[in-house]
Amino acid sequence: MTLNHTKIANKKTGLPVAIWKYKYGLILLAFFLVYPLITPSIYHLTLLIEVFIFTVFAISYNLMLGYTGIISLGHALFFGMGGYVGGLLMVEADYPFLLVIPIIVGIAIILSVIIGFLTLRVKAIFFAMVTMAIATFFWIVAQRWTDMTGGDDGMGGMIPPDILLPRENYYYFTLIVMVVVYMFFIRFVNSPTGRVLQAIRENEERTSHLGYNVLNFKIIVIVIAGVLATLSGFFFTLSMRFVHPSYLDVDTTLDALLMTVIGGMGTITGPFVGAVVVRPLEHIMSTYTEHWLLIFGIIYVLIVLFLPKGLVPSLKEQSERLRLLGRKLLGKN
């Protein structure tokens, strides 16, 4: 039933539909591609690298929360695991970059399957609680096992391969990673599997009565989310060249959650909007006040209460309503 629309051109512009559909994304992409040429500011590049990496992290969270309706309170587990295991393999064992990636991906798959099998059999709430417990466990390990992880001082010394050493190159690398993940994300949520996941979100019982093995689908999604989060943690560690127990703590999970909720759960644009809003805001606010988390928390609570669909869809809805209202008024006059 999937027709190939790509070759049909848009009537107004003559552009292929596929391009027209993602015009804003493509404009943004073009902007990011030329951005390093406009400004050589290392600070801005680093910030944008963070945005790209956290977009990937938020996508992984959105797949679970927004598309399947599974809530994880320990997603930082994978982020930190990528950072620590990847970092340790590079620093202690001197493994090359390209070998580290399959190793951490493998660990992420095994971990998610174990967690998923243990917790997803009962209720979604168990998954939330158990992931939180396990993430806290790893957080304590990272803090206490000082010989290996450096404890609270963190651990440094992991250096990206030579070709990625200049900031600009790392910038382009993370940009490519983000774009590839985004393409995968869009394909995936529109694939039959993605549709089943959304069906699970809407009504789990009905989906299972339709003959889908809900548990398998849920495990698929947490494996994908785990892998993406692990990779983003690893790339973030490489960008910072430093890894700290705070990568594993609940604030990191909250970051992903904030981005997903602010950007809009279950939307394509959500993760990017969330990362663009949250990450730089954190940087700005933390320079003014040490209580920025409080402000963020309050904003977050208000969004959950009043704009549960997230920023973009809610704004869209409001503007739509205004337009309708305007049309009505004009019509009456």
Partner: protein
């Protein structure tokens, strides 16, 4: 026993309202801080305990009324909301009292140790154990012997039927939420002289409480009592022999229980 105080309210709230209230830990935290404030102000430990419990109840009622009422039936948003509240309450504590660890002096009556069977036991620990058992008995009696208790248990079983019998279930919800929050705050103020008072306290208590509730069975009151004893014992014994792995043992216990009986030791099949 402290785990029991925090886990009991958590489990009750979940059982009745199917709200996974992560902000529960912040009631514990606020119990500890407000108890300390009252104690330094009046110098009276009994007043501090009562006052902190009342603060907990009021906070619970406010949270329930302002933030959870609009979200009943939307489980996902409830978790998101209470997680946000956990963050807000912790940051508020940092704003008001700062981030340093504050000491909570033990009241004089409860200092020193008792000699039982030739061994020394600090009086304060015995006090905590007795307080926990008293609370368990009182809440158990309320739940099983009074009309309110019957209503609450009926609400856990079948919410709609209770409403059909002409009882405003929302009032029961608010009451249980307040009671649970009060229990957590009580745990906070009693635990404070023993644990110290610092902003991360709430979150540190949340994870063992979650494990207790899962092992004991979600929504089961005596389940959380048994779960708390198991976790408390394994924590102290494990902590005695290999301190680093106290939590590891608990996570392992959690995994075993989930494998054998995914709903917990006393959990109901099906449920909500």
């Amino acid at each position: 026993m402290l785990y029991f105080l925090i886990a009991a309210g958590f489990s009750l709230i979940f059982g009745l309202m199917s709200v996974l209230n992560l902000a529960h830990a912040s009631f514990f935290l606020w119990g500890a801080y407000s108890g300390l404030a009252i104690f330094t102000f009046t110098g009276n430990f009994t007043l501090a305990v009562i006052g902190a419990t009342i603060v907990g109840v009021i906070m619970g009622l406010l949270v329930e009324y302002l933030t959870l009422r609009p979200l009943y039936g939307k489980h996902l948003f409830q978790i998101l909301m209470t997680l946000g509240l956990l963050l807000v309450f912790e940051e508020l504590v940092k704003l008001i009292w700062g981030t340093t660890i504050l000491g909570f002096p033990r009241p004089e009556v409860l200092t020193g140790s008792l000699v039982i069977l030739g061994r020394y036991f600090p009086v304060y620990r015995i006090f905590i154990i007795i307080a926990g058992i008293v609370v368990f008995i009182v809440v158990y009696l309320i739940l099983n012997r009074t009309k309110i208790g019957i209503t609450v248990r009926a609400g856990v079983e079948d919410e709609e039927m209770v409403q059909a019998l002409g009882i405003d279930i929302r009032k029961v919800f608010s009451g249980v939420f307040g009671l649970g929050a009060g229990l957590a705050a009580l745990g906070g103020v009693i635990g404070a002289p023993f644990l110290g008072v610092y902003p991360e306290l709430g979150f540190e208590m949340l994870v063992p409480a979650l494990i207790v509730v899962i092992i004991g069975g979600l929504g089961s009151f005596h389940g959380s009592f048994v779960g708390a004893i198991i976790i408390g014992l394994s924590q102290s014994f494990g902590g005695y022999f290999i301190p680093e792995f106290a939590l590891a043992i608990n996570v392992a216990l959690l995994a075993i229980v989930l494998l054998i009986k995914p709903t917990g030791l006393f959990g109901m099949e099906g449920g909500h």
